[in-house]
């Protein structure tokens, strides 16, 4: 009897998601036992053609990490969708756009200009910018098209499930994989797997009081108390607007959560929700003072939308 097929693919990502799959350590052998690996470019043979030759739906499960940054990413995303029964957006980039989604604050040309012209160590008098098609003396070379905006996986194709995190916690990945291997039923389409159903605060051991914020502080210039809720201390922590599941790793390490697990269930826009929450607990009635307090948040978009800018409500103005 042939085993079901598994595909793991990376689009615009750092490889951390693949590492977190490897970090299930010895259990990777269980995966090997249960599945035929149809595709895993980081670890195994990669054949576009073979995938193209498959029947639609031939792959049982595809774990897709990385965002859609260029034409190749999009092409493979659509191809894998067609060939997979279950397509999972794996990790922050595929799920929400990820850290690299902050690039949507700039246009394509601005990014290229910064990297290839403005860098102090780059010497590029002819202002050469990589091209999708370039001629060398021996012939033509091609590169995929670098899009103006980055998109999450579900912005280019239909997605069945999401596994959040930057990267997903290996234990959570393992639990999902074992669940699937055991053949247990999956939740409704569109569900988030491998994470909790509440916000980070649920698992956070820090002491929480009623919140009233008079001052925002930065980790650069202040040391937080290790026992008390960071937000109460004025350090913006995205924990309240972030789904649980990572084990509150960052907060336990003494720094605020930045929200890589994405919004909790029911929350449409993680950044907007946190902004709304923070705005509500500013401890002042005086508009000038409120403005002064708010102005202490130096980088609102990078703070509230660190991982979710491309999938936020803000994205529309970009397109």
């Amino acid at each position: 009897m042939s085993k079901p097929k598994l595909a793991i693919y990376w689009a615009a990502s750092c490889g951390g998601c693949d590492v977190s799959i490897l970090d299930i350590h010895e259990h990777i052998l269980d995966v090997d036992k249960a599945f035929d690996l149809a595709l895993w470019p980081v670890a195994a043979d990669f054949k576009y053609k073979d995938v193209e030759a498959m029947q639609d739906g031939e792959i049982l499960l595809t774990l897709f990490n990385g965002a859609i940054r260029n034409s190749e990413n999009e092409h493979i995303a659509k191809l894998l969708r067609k060939k997979s029964k279950v397509l999972v957006a794996f990790g922050s980039c595929a799920h929400l756009g990820g850290v690299i989604g902050m690039a949507n604050l700039s246009k394509r040309d601005e990014i290229l200009d910064t990297v290839y012209n403005k860098s102090v160590s780059t010497h590029n008098p002819e202002r050469i910018i990589p091209q999708t098609l370039s001629r060398v003396k021996e012939g033509e070379l091609t590169l995929p098209k670098f899009y103006n905006y980055l998109r999450s996986l579900d912005q280019v194709t239909d997605v069945d499930y999401y596994i959040p995190g930057c990267p997903p916690n290996p234990e959570q990945v393992l639990a999902v994989v074992q669940h699937i291997i055991a053949g247990k039923p999956l939740p409704p389409k569109g569900s988030v797997l491998g994470a909790g159903d509440k916000s980070q605060c649920d698992e956070c051991k820090r002491k929480k009081n009623v919140k009233k914020i008079r001052e925002f502080r930065r980790i650069a210039t202040a040391i937080p108390d290790p026992e008390i809720c960071l937000l109460e201390q004025g350090f913006i922590c995205m924990g309240p607007a972030t789904r649980s599941g990572c084990g509150v790793a960052c907060v336990n390490a003494g720094v605020p959560c930045r929200g890589c697990y994405g919004p909790p269930p029911n929350v449409l826009d993680q950044g907007a929700k946190m902004l709304s929450a923070i705005a509500s607990v500013i401890d002042s009635d005086n508009p000038d003072e409120i403005n002064q307090i708010i102005s202490q948040v130096e980088d609102p978009v990078g703070t509230f939308y660190r991982f979710s800018l491309p999938t936020s409500l803000l994205r529309r103005s970009n397109i």
Partner: protein, 670 residues
């Protein structure tokens, strides 16, 4: 939930809507919207036939969602909710689309108005798909009423409630009830003696079985909700046991220390142990700790020595008590504008420049001059200027009209004319005599020889300054350097009707200063969750249709705390507030808002961000479950917590994210 079957009902509102919006086109558009199975229009949807039309359509077309496109929900949401209920549909399956205030009244171009009406209806229809039926909730009501403030408004309200059989707790900050009205001499325009009509009411309050009077007390904390308020009251230490005190007054006689008398506006003095005025209720003294020398040096105790019933108790302490009431009437009154801030008018700089209330005391038979109108040096004035609009109708101070000043200015003019031979000048901008008998009073005054100058007085100089700056004027007016003339004051104004600048040499100036909101209005507003308008006074729920209600159910307004008011208006409003409170507490049960917020335990992470933001203090924290809880009865469904909750664990019924986003999408989906 069944598949939505939506009915859309478009109201013409006469020409209010139909005059601008193309109803036919809008109706056609509405009927094309998804899930809309019926769309119609009518001239006045809120009329009986209009309501019948809606009810009939619900039954005939088996509608399970109703959208009425008409005026604001404030106007008629309850009307149509009732129609739905009668037709067997849960009232929360009704959605109002406001195409009047938000559309036809504010959009000038008919075509754009039609487009906008479509968008608004599209939004309402989209939202209605996600409406959910909600249960009607009731709570029982405590029949007691708390009245805050013991001026004429509080007195009237307390008596009305008590007479209706309800227990009343009347809390007054000062040692006696009576308020500003007790300081007045005569009342306009009837010239009744203020004390004569007020004291019987005060006595009734003091003696009424249903009224528990707490003077020298302040409300410190209010929690709970309509029908079930918990109120903490601080009873300040009086140092006199009123249950023992007979009110004989010997203590006040014997007390050797004095302080400025607040009741006399500082024009006279009182003792450290005192009753504010002879007719005070309760007519039993308190000790003013600030003035009493015993509290500073530990010596004296003269009052104690002479007190036969041994009522003086220096060990008395502040006490906090808690009471439960079903309704609260706020009657905290007003303050007067501080005329020192208009420095050019010479108040507190020159003698014989008085505020209105100071003159009231000077003129009062029980006042410091025993009712004799006199100057500081005891002379009777020969000329008096009454300056209107001091601190009111003025962008630099208060923009509003203080409403009572014209009338009390006329009253003073009359009393001056009655008691003295003095000339009286009234410098006014506009005479505003709108009440019953007021214009007649003005008419009477013009016949009494009072001089009216239409122009705002801008400065008051004394003899020396006038002589230095305007020697020609002083000379031209025939002012000599006689002792009497050297005490003259010079008032400058333009008579705008003559286009002439005037100088009025007078002996006394009365500044008709504005009524303003009390300095502690903000504290009270926080305590009770009621709003303050931009004029500083408490905001009624609706200026016309709910003038004594507030945004907090069960809290009502009486008197000048809501805006400048004369006595007749105050008494009328106090009675209205009492009636509103009585009709509430006598209902036994009250229906509370069902569109409230609730915490989904499955999703709440216990972050406590919502805990302190509820304007109605409806949220508490359950430590054992590590989650926040919304008290249904307190919640008004404002949605603050729902928008605060960073994990969307709080849902605002009837305004869920899904409903709101559907509405937005509907609005944009043209």
């Amino acid at each position: 939930m069944d598949k939505p079957r939506i009915g859309v009902f478009i109201c013409h509102c006469g020409t209010n809507i139909a005059g601008k919006v193309n109803i036919e086109e809008v109706k056609k558009y509405a009927s094309t919207l998804g899930d809309v199975v019926f769309a119609t229009d009518y001239k006045f949807m809120c009329s009986d036939p209009g309501q019948e039309l809606v009810g009939k359509a619900i039954r005939e077309h088996k509608l399970n969602r109703v959208v009425v496109a008409a005026c604001s929900p404030l106007m008629h949401e309850s009307t149509f909710r009732k129609v739905c209920m009668l037709a067997g549909l849960n009232q929360y399956l009704f959605q109002m689309a406001n195409i009047r205030e938000q559309c036809s009244w504010v959009t000038e171009d008919p075509e754009l108005a039609t487009v906008k009406a479509k968008a608004i209806i599209s939004g309402a229809v989209a939202k209605s798909r996600y409406l959910e039926p909600l249960n009607i909730k009731e709570v029982t009501i405590n029949p007691s009423v708390l009245v805050i403030g013991g001026g004429i408004a509080g007195i009237q309200a307390a008596l009305e409630c008590a007479e209706a059989g309800n227990k009343v707790i009347l809390v007054e900050k000062t040692p006696s009830i009576g308020g500003h009205m007790a300081q007045f001499d005569k009342t306009f325009p009837t010239l009744d003696c203020s004390a004569c009509i007020l004291t019987p009411k005060m006595t009734s309050v003091g003696q009424h079985n249903n009224i528990e009077l707490m003077t020298y007390s302040e409300v410190k904390e209010v929690s709970g909700y309509v029908g079930n308020f918990k109120v903490k009251i601080l009873q300040k230490a009086k140092y006199v046991d009123h249950s023992k005190c007979t009110g004989c007054g010997i203590c006040m006689e014997k007390c050797p220390y004095k302080a400025p008398n607040e009741f006399e506006e500082g024009l006279a003095q009182r003792k450290a142990i005192y009753t504010p005025f002879p007719q005070a209720v309760p007519n039993k003294p308190v000790i003013d700790k600030e003035t009493c020398v015993y509290f500073k040096t530990g010596k004296c105790r003269a009052c104690e020595k002479f007190c036969e019933p041994k009522a003086v108790n220096f060990n008395d302490t502040d006490r906090e008590i808690e009471v439960n009431v079903g309704a609260i009437i706020v009657a905290t009154g007003y303050d007067l504008f501080d005329t020192r801030s208009v420095s050019q008018l010479g108040y507190k700089k020159y003698d014989n420049v008085y505020t209105g209330l100071e003159f009231e005391r000077i003129n009062n038979a029980a006042g410091p001059t025993a009712g004799k109108i006199q100057l500081k040096d005891g002379r009777t004035p020969k000329s008096i200027a009454i300056l209107h609009c001091i601190g009111s109708r003025d962008k630099n101070y208060h923009e509003y009209c203080s409403r009572v000043c014209c009338m009390y200015a006329l009253k003073y003019a009359h009393l001056i004319k009655e008691k003295t031979e003095s000339d009286v000048y009234n410098c006014y901008i506009d005479m505003r005599c709108f009440g019953k008998g007021y214009e007649e009073f003005y008419h009477r005054l013009t016949e009494e020889g009072v001089d009216f100058i239409r122009g705002k007085a801008v400065c008051v100089l004394d003899y020396n300054d006038a002589k230095t700056l305007y020697p020609d004027m002083v000379e031209a007016l025939g002012i000599t350097d006689s002792e009497e003339d050297r005490k003259k004051l010079f008032v400058r104004t333009e008579d705008t009707l003559l286009k002439k600048t005037m100088w009025l040499p007078v002996d006394m100036v009365i500044l008709c200063n504005a009524m303003k909101s009390r300095s502690d209005a903000k504290d009270i507003s926080r305590l009770l969750n009621i709003s303050i308008g931009k004029d500083g006074f408490f905001l009624e729920k609706h200026p016309k249709l709910a003038p004594v209600s507030t945004a907090t159910d069960g809290v009502f307004l009486a008197g000048a705390c809501q805006g400048p008011k004369d006595i007749p208006d105050t008494v009328a409003q106090a009675s209205a507030a009492a009636a509103a409170a009585i009709s509430l507490v006598q209902r036994n049960k009250v229906v509370i808002e069902s569109a409230t917020a609730y915490v989904n335990e499955e999703l709440c992470s216990g972050c406590k961000l919502c805990n302190d933001i509820c304007p109605f203090t409806a949220i508490s924290f359950d430590e054992s479950k590590n989650r926040s809880v919304v008290n249904d009865a307190l919640c008004k469904g404002c949605g603050t917590c729902a928008s605060t909750c960073p994990s969307s664990a709080i849902k605002a019924n009837h305004f869920t994210d899904r409903q709101i986003f559907a509405e937005i999408e509907g609005l944009l989906n043209l």
